[in-house]
Amino acid sequence: MYDLSAAFGAALRMVAGFDPALMGIVALSVKVSLAAVAIATVLGLPLGAAVALGRFPGRRGMIVVLNALMGLPPVVVGLLVYLLLSRSGPLGPLGLLFTPPAMIIAQAILITPIVAALARQVVEDAWTEYQEQLRSLGAPPRRAVWTLLWDTRFSLVTVVLAGFGRAAAEVGAVIMVGGNIDGVTRVMTTAIALETSKGDLPLALGLGLILITLVLAANAAAYTIKEVAQRRLG
């Protein structure tokens, strides 16, 4: 009980004091996760829609693989990106290991399948519903992809949020490729891991509370925007 109240105290003090180190960590968390989500959205939505509408050999296999990739173990992705970006690896000359872009790459790999697989399901359901109409209008499949993505955009917001949630909460991959460097690659989750390893459990939990609040705020904002837009655009 003591630890829990101490955690709330620590969280409140940090937030109220606008601790600059904390603000930097929060800003980096948001930046990295948003960039990863942006990449995952640009790649994942069209991919998901294409798989939903396409009729090609191996499609069923691809759906199973996409769904399975939602459960990619972060630590394995971290290791893979680490070996790719290491100076001794194929992409070593880029010098990206232990930088924020390395973290963005790892997270994008983790969440693109999530966005793609969920988008596939959403678009496929919409397709079953509107198939007749779209066919009768004579829309070519390429156009149908964009039409359906546009029509399901409000559901897809939730899909993108699922990706964002995973990115913001992830620690295994980013600690490996980012290195948890103070002021450079330290994000909320790696800071929590660090404070835990120092045995400062109340501070770690305090940071955790702030992280949860942030994710909650992001979701509330997205929900509000969605509601407003839905009412305006119907």
């Binding site: 930046k31 990295v32 948003l34 960039a35 942006a38 990449i39 959205t41 640009v42 290491s86 100076r87 001794s88 070593g92 000359p93 010098g95 290991l97 232990f98 930088t99 924020p100 872009p101 963005i104 964009w146 290195g179 948890n180 460097i181 103070d182 450079v184 660090l194 835990t196 390893s197 120092k198 045995g199 400062d200 459990l201 837009a229």
Partner: protein, 278 residues
Amino acid sequence: MKFTRRSLLVAASLAVTLALSPAQAQDKFIVVSSTTSTQDSGLFGHILPIFKAKTGIDVRVVAQGTGQALDTGRRGDADVVFVHDKVAEEKFVADGFSPERREVMYNDFVLIGPKSDPAKVAGSKDIAGSLKKIAEAKAPFASRGDKSGTHAAELRLWRVAAIDLEKDKGTWYRELGQGMGPTLNTAAGMNAYVLADRATWLSFKNRADLTIVVEGDQRLFNQYGIMLVNPAKHAHVKKDLGQTFIDWITSPEGQKAIADYKIGGESLFFPNFRKAGT
């Protein structure tokens, strides 16, 4: 408002550019792969700002176990390696991964254990005898098990105590494969004995029922060394900036900064750089 595909793309590329920009902003930095003890104890937080104020060089510390930190250097992913396993460090130099190893500072290991002290070792100054008693009592012992400097030291001490772990380890000997902090957290949870470096112990907060039971044995000495990653092996290594850091930390000023770092009036590390041959 119409947000189309193009505006989505623009937003996406903007987000990526934003995220990438700070990485390129500052160029004058080095990456130092070091141990969890130097970072978790707060030493770097104390000495790096002093170094930065003097030279303008940003030191980016990646804190890992000594085994992993050396590997990071071997792969060329760090400019400088700052660890504590003399045997492994000398091999690192002998294998050509660094031109030179310098001894920077030392502290000591301590044996931590529950206050109830089931193996009856508290107050002893004989680490080998104490480990023997723990093995005989089959009292829970938490081992790092992660090829870190502390793990290497622990394994050496078991050998000194003439305990053959391969043969004698039972369920009482628990290999965690974790860093120092998580290992202490686990030991606190299961009231186990554990070997820790004094710096991490002093700055560790979740002690629960644990306390120091054995200290002061000469065999608990813990030396830290620093090495530049060999530019001949990895051409991109920031040789000059890295050497500046090594020269500073072994200079009177750097050595004083280390000695000045205290928690509760107690020094965590003791500088002991000596020029070769003196």
